[in-house]
């Protein structure tokens, strides 16, 4: 089997992984970014990015393409749409195998594998996924032109994507399990002042109803336990993310929420293995904080390599 050696391997190509790649390659280190999906990670699900400093309003996809170009221009190799079939993070010389036929070794690894949207866990969710249940407003909003939809969640993603959906839909009901939102004041105000948006708080969707497509939901009030049915054409789910750490759990220390634990230098419990972005334990998950993590991880990885 063909084996190649790099100075650094970055797993994941969202904001954190690409930033780490930019810094590593720019330090003249032979760097490989390996990515099981495609470039951009969860950034590409974001319709409009208006708070990334230095860039006027753009899309998550456009930012990710620029980051990719920067990484490549500095000499980073990027392997996209491959499968990580084996890895060894514990040995001093790290090893990964992709697609069962290529092996790469390196002195450091940065884990930037991100997360995926959390499912709601309501009855019939798998049955209606794609048929009235969506996790991406920017992808699917157009299919709900002049329809009535529900957005589930109370964080920034839920409220901001609800506001962006008002371009298409007739009405939005935001269903949230608590009596207050976790989103920022700005996001809450934007949603509250929009005439198309109404709110059902302290309530959870327990079941999706319909034949071929979602036609309604069962909603349970968390305080009274009372359940009622609400007609809807679709449900957009924004209830947070699950970190992509399942395969690392035997070797990397994780939090209770299965996020990778790191120190302030982004170092994990294993020497030479760093973590960055949404995959690590932290409170704030933004493109800016992923970029920050990627920078810190890469610069500390460079220092580690120089020792």
């Amino acid at each position: 089997m063909n084996t190649k050696h790099c100075d650094a391997i970055v797993l994941g190509s969202g904001a954190a992984g690409l930033t780490a790649g930019i810094y590593l390659a720019r330090a003249n280190l032979k760097t490989l970014i390996v990515n099981e999906g495609s470039i951009g990670g969860q950034m590409v699900l974001t319709h409009a990015v208006a708070n990334y400093p230095g860039v006027l309003e753009t899309s998550g996809r456009d930012i990710s393409l620029i980051m990719k170009k920067q990484a490549k221009d500095f000499g980073c190799d990027i392997e996209s749409n491959v499968e990580l079939t084996k890895f060894d993070l514990i040995s001093k010389k790290k090893m990964i195998e992709i697609d069962d036929d290529e092996v790469f070794t390196s002195d450091v690894v940065i884990l930037a594998t991100g997360g995926k949207p959390r499912k709601l866990g309501a009855k019939n969710e798998d049955k209606f996924k794609g048929f009235g249940i969506s996790y991406c407003a920017t992808c699917d909003g157009d299919f709900y032109t002049d329809k009535d939809v529900i957005v589930v969640g109370g964080g920034n993603s839920a409220l901001e994507e609800a506001v962006s959906l008002t371009k298409w839909v007739r009405s939005i009901t935001i269903v949230h399990q608590f009596d207050n939102f976790q989103a920022t004041d700005h996001a809450i105000k934007q949603a509250e002042k929009n005439d198309k948006i109404s709110f059902i708080l302290e309530s959870e969707i327990t079941e999706y109803l319909g034949e071929r497509q979602v036609e309604g939901v069962k909603i349970q009030n968390q305080k009274t336990g009372e359940t009622r049915e609400l007609k809807t054409d679709g449900v957009f789910v924004y209830v947070g993310y699950i970190p992509n750490t399942d395969r690392f759990k035997d070797v990397i220390d994780l939090s209770e929420r299965e996020e990778i634990l790191t120190d302030k230098n982004m170092l994990t419990n294993i020497n030479g293995v760093f973590a960055a972005g949404d995959v690590r334990e932290k409170k704030i998950r933004q493109i800016t904080t992923a970029v920050s993590d990627g920078t810190i991880a890469a610069l500390n990885a460079i220092e580690y390599l120089q020792k």
């Binding site: 999906g37 951009g40 749409n81 992808c139 157009d142």
Partner: protein, 117 residues
């Protein structure tokens, strides 16, 4: 990669106006990508399909349907989420898959659903 319209879809895949039950019109299995230009994850799928079109040339047809342009086709399949990928084997019912699949999943589906190695 060929972009299908209602007319070419009916010739090459399924004439849903003439047939109530699924009847595949193609001479080899096919994959159809329902996409739109505004959809980031759809753009992730595009290069994967280009690779597959080369690797499976002569064995599998790969088509694209612009859901914005071909709203009737999207509605006929009840498309509410993109990318949606339709796998059409010869002699069996088609299967729809939602979301941007990694290449590995396409290869598995080509083998398992389309019965092509």
């Amino acid at each position: 990669m060929e972009h299908l319209t209602k007319e070419t879809f009916q010739q090459k895949v399924f004439n849903y106006e003439a047939n109530k039950d699924w009847k595949f019109e193609g001479d080899k299995p096919c994959i159809i990508d329902f996409y739109a230009d505004w959809c980031g994850p759809c753009k992730q799928v595009a290069p994967v399909l280009e690779d597959l079109a080369k690797e499976y040339e002569g064995k599998v047809d790969i088509y694209k349907i612009d859901t914005e342009d071909q709203q009737e086709l999207a509605a006929a399949f009840g498309i509410r989420s993109i990318p949606s990928i339709l796998f059409c084997p010869k002699g069996d019912k088609p299967q729809m898959s939602m979301g941007a699949l990694p290449k590995e999943s396409f290869v598995t589906a080509i083998k398992d659903v389309l019965k092509v190695d």
